[in-house]
């Protein structure tokens, strides 16, 4: 953070703006009207409002954005993207920031949420589809939350909502290949 103090548009920041632009996100079009933040159903749980995250990206204060809980708590409900009068795809901006936080800094302020995504994706890598029971077990081990929702899990089993065996698709090898490709750019 010190490196960025007093340097509003840092080199890291311009790189971030380039990545956002490549993803079709024009962060600099924001004039801080606050519509994204007023309508965000998760805003009350955020440490930075969506409009603050957008502004930090423009100012090159990337570290503060990547270090926030907000980028992980965003549920991608797309309300902000739908309502932004300047057409800024804010939900996509959150995707880009999460990707950069993981890739470049190994950072995730919400360890449980990161553990969930990891368990979910591991299930896809292994089977090509999500095997819910395996995914839940993986999440519990990763997060340490061993006993949360036990009652719910039993209810779902009783109602035939959980399969005990995974389905593995024929294209598992192709799916695994996708996980090996470099994350950043297509091609």
């Amino acid at each position: 953070m010190e490196a960025e103090a007093g340097n509003w548009i840092s080199p890291a920041g311009t790189e971030l703006l380039r990545e956002l632009q490549a993803a079709g996100v024009e962060a600099t079009a924001c004039y801080q009207c606050g519509r994204c933040s007023a309508g965000c159903p998760l805003a009350e749980f955020f440490d930075l409002k969506p409009m603050q995250v957008v502004r930090l990206c423009c100012y090159g204060q990337e570290a503060r954005a990547l270090d926030s809980h907000t980028i992980w708590l965003c549920a991608s409900c797309e309300t902000c993207t739908t309502r932004c009068p300047n057409g800024i795809d804010i939900a996509r901006l959150m995707d880009v920031l999460r990707g950069r936080a993981l890739r470049e800094r190994g950072l995730a302020r919400e360890a449980g949420i990161k553990a969930f995504h990891k368990s979910f994706l591991n299930s896809i890598r292994r089977h090509g589809r999500v095997f819910e029971v395996g995914m839940i077990a993986g999440y519990k081990l990763r997060s340490g939350d061993l006993f949360g929702d036990t009652g719910l899990g039993l209810q779902m089993l009783k109602r035939g909502k959980l399969s005990l065996l995974p389905t593995r698709i024929k294209g598992t090898r192709a799916v695994r290949g996708m996980f090996r490709r470099p994350q950043k750019q297509r091609g």
């Binding site: 998760l42 409900c77 993207t81 109602r159």
Partner: protein, 292 residues
């Protein structure tokens, strides 16, 4: 899983069907009732061969390239089998449409052939005038007097640049369907509020807060149940209401239906007693007076 069904009726349409992981697991009753509803509408569903998971939130939130690749594989399979692709899950639908948008705007011209696939959420088909008319004619039971809140959630309608929705702030298709079934759809302000989606496991506390808001709004509007076409919304709304009851005692409790379950229940000769078994919140209390 029966992949095709023989039917002697006229005007059969065939569509590729991408159920997605939830409909093979936690939302089995949705899959079952989608198939029943498709039979009724004369749509022959052919499950997309060897489909893979769409990646849901976890892929696009952490690795956009992976999200795109997962979607493209399914779109390629659809293009080779049947480019009319019917998707019952809001998240799967959204991922496929978002991938098409990304490809359309991409500088390189790779994978452009998958843009030929016409991806439709099931709601689009189900609430089209011709389908509503078929349902009206096939109706054997009515939901008369039942007050329901049509709940659209996030990803079927938002953002319109991806979904093509004409009315993302106040959609109305499901409300029309409920009327056709004889029910009374209520006006309410939480039709498109977020249920918390994938936060439900790691941040159940937040999901409970969002679910509580939605359910209380439905109750204020006089609804006796909520109707959705998204498997995550259905699971979150039912499971987190049960937590809230435990925590707060007096929290209201509304059953959450898949729209297709109601269509199937109203058009079949007699109610199957097993139909409502998968629900965490037993809906038979509100349905019994209607003989369902």
């Amino acid at each position: 899983m029966p992949e095709e069904r023989e039917q002697g009726t006229d005007s059969q349409v065939e569509a590729a069907y991408y159920p997605g992981c939830s409909l093979h697991g936690t939302a089995r009753e949705y899959d079952q009732s989608v198939r029943e509803t498709a039979d009724l509408l004369g749509v022959r569903l052919r499950e997309l061969p060897d489909w893979n998971c769409c990646g849901a939130s976890s892929a696009h939130m952490t690795d956009e390239r992976l999200a795109l690749d997962l979607a493209v594989r399914n779109l390629r399979i659809a293009r080779q089998t049947n480019p009319e692709l019917l998707v019952p899950c809001a998240a799967c639908f959204h991922r496929l449409k978002a991938a098409q948008k990304t490809l359309r705007e991409a500088a390189d011209s790779r994978d452009q052939e998958v843009l030929e696939v016409r991806v439709a959420h099931l709601q689009e088909w189900l609430c089209a005038p011709a389908s509503l008319e078929k349902i009206r004619r096939a109706r054997r039971h009515s939901l008369q007097g039942l007050k329901l809140a049509a709940y659209y959630g996030c990803l079927i309608t938002r953002p319109p640049a991806v979904t093509g929705s004409r009315d993302p702030e106040n959609p109305g298709g499901l409300d029309l369907l409920l009327r056709v079934l004889g029910a009374e759809p209520r006006r309410w302000s939480y039709k498109t509020e977020c249920c918390g989606g994938s936060l439900t496991m790691p941040r159940a506390d937040i999901t409970r807060a969002l679910v509580s808001r939605i359910v209380r709004a439905a109750v204020r509007a006089g609804a006796q149940g909520i109707v959705t076409m998204c498997p995550m919304c259905q699971a979150n709304l039912e499971s987190r209401q049960l937590d809230l009851i435990k925590q707060e005692g007096g929290h209201p409790l509304l059953p959450v239906f898949f729209a297709t379950e109601l269509v199937a229940a109203c058009t079949r000769e007699s109610g199957t007693s097993d139909r409502w078994k998968p629900h965490l919140i037993d809906p038979r209390g509100v349905l019994a007076p209607l003989g369902l």
